[in-house]
Assembly symmetry: C2
Homo-oligomer: 210 residues x 2
């Protein structure tokens, strides 16, 4: 079962004309714009430059391809959040704002019209009728909450929060701020406005004036 015993790939048959990672990223980009139901296999083929059977052999049918795209996005997105929230001794305010900035960078990546959050833009619609997508969504949201909560717990123990503050409630609020930014990004609200929302919200969460 080992197909790579070192540096030489040594695959047997005709070499692939595509790179699986970049192909998955291109497919993700396409779903990002059109949604799951709104994106056809033809569009995915055009975007990835792959023909139908290759796409199929590489990622399975449309549904499993989308699930892989969704999984990849969660990993990317949560990694960015965790790095931003990593405890580096700096104040909570900075960490939170760094987390929101990291997400905004994803939402507004590329030259095209802003795409917002991939999860909000594609998974939310399908979640109600698709169990697997719904489970992935619920799991990702829970991890996001958990990441914020860890950081707010640290801040609480360090006395950064207001007296009597509830770190768990504030963590949910921190998630809520990210959610509202994701939604507004999809509605075409410019990036600077979204950042301002984040900045003011961080002040409220941290219990500061203005």
């Amino acid at each position: 079962m080992v197909q790579n015993n070192g540096s030489a790939p040594t695959r047997r048959g005709r070499p692939r004309a595509y790179n699986p990672q970049t192909a998955l990223q291109l497919a993700t980009d396409r779903f990002w714009r059109g949604g799951y139901s709104g994106t056809s296999l033809d569009q995915l083929c055009a975007e990835t430059g792959m023909n139908r059977p290759s796409l199929y052999a590489a990622f399975g049918d449309k549904h499993t391809l989308y699930l892989k795209a969704l999984e990849g996005y969660w990993q990317l997105s949560l990694k960015a959040i965790r790095e931003a929230l990593a405890d580096d001794g700096k104040p909570l305010k900075e960490a939170l704002l760094r987390a929101y900035d990291a997400q905004l960078a994803i939402y507004f990546a590329g030259d095209e019209s802003p795409r917002g959050c991939f999860v909000i833009g594609t998974a939310i619609t399908e979640a109600v009728e698709d169990v697997e997508i719904r489970n992935s969504l619920a799991a990702g949201l829970a991890m996001l909450d958990a990441d914020f909560e860890v950081r707010l717990q640290v801040a609480h123990e360090r006395g950064e929060l207001q007296a009597g503050a509830d770190p768990t409630a504030l963590a949910t609020l921190a998630s809520a701020v990210l959610h509202t930014i994701a939604i507004r990004a999809r509605a075409g609200i410019p990036r600077v406005e979204l950042r301002e929302i984040a900045r003011k919200a961080v002040n409220v969460i941290c219990g500061l004036q203005s």
Copy 2:
């Protein structure tokens, strides 16, 4: 142009076999579950009991039908928010919780599996590539913000908020709480949990302990 000069409808041709209002509501329900792209005309016909040409004559093509459904939902939803936030002399905390409860009642209406928010579930996906849907989305979100802000301004003038609090920032946060609830509802989070999120968030917004 007057087609109803009192109580007698007196339409000329064959009478309609459907009620436009209920038909639009049924179409809305169908979009609610499947999304815009994920819902076919056949499904809309099946749900409304209308045949294709009748649906067409009544509401135009799929796109305009959806826009009417979206408009109707905004009206219903914002009306509920405004009624809940109406100043009746009671404390802000109560008004906010009433607003969230009103939305939860919409999200969890019916016996079927919970559908969450219609806007979040259907418009967000299409908004990026569809200008009309995006505009409707942006306008609705702005009105939601405005409704919260009016109420928070009142609370501020009445001294209900913490010293130095920013009513506008808190209004955005109040919207954010609604957004996160809408997203989580779509992810299958049970109603009681969502209400608890609302309750705790209201306490933070109002500057109370726990």
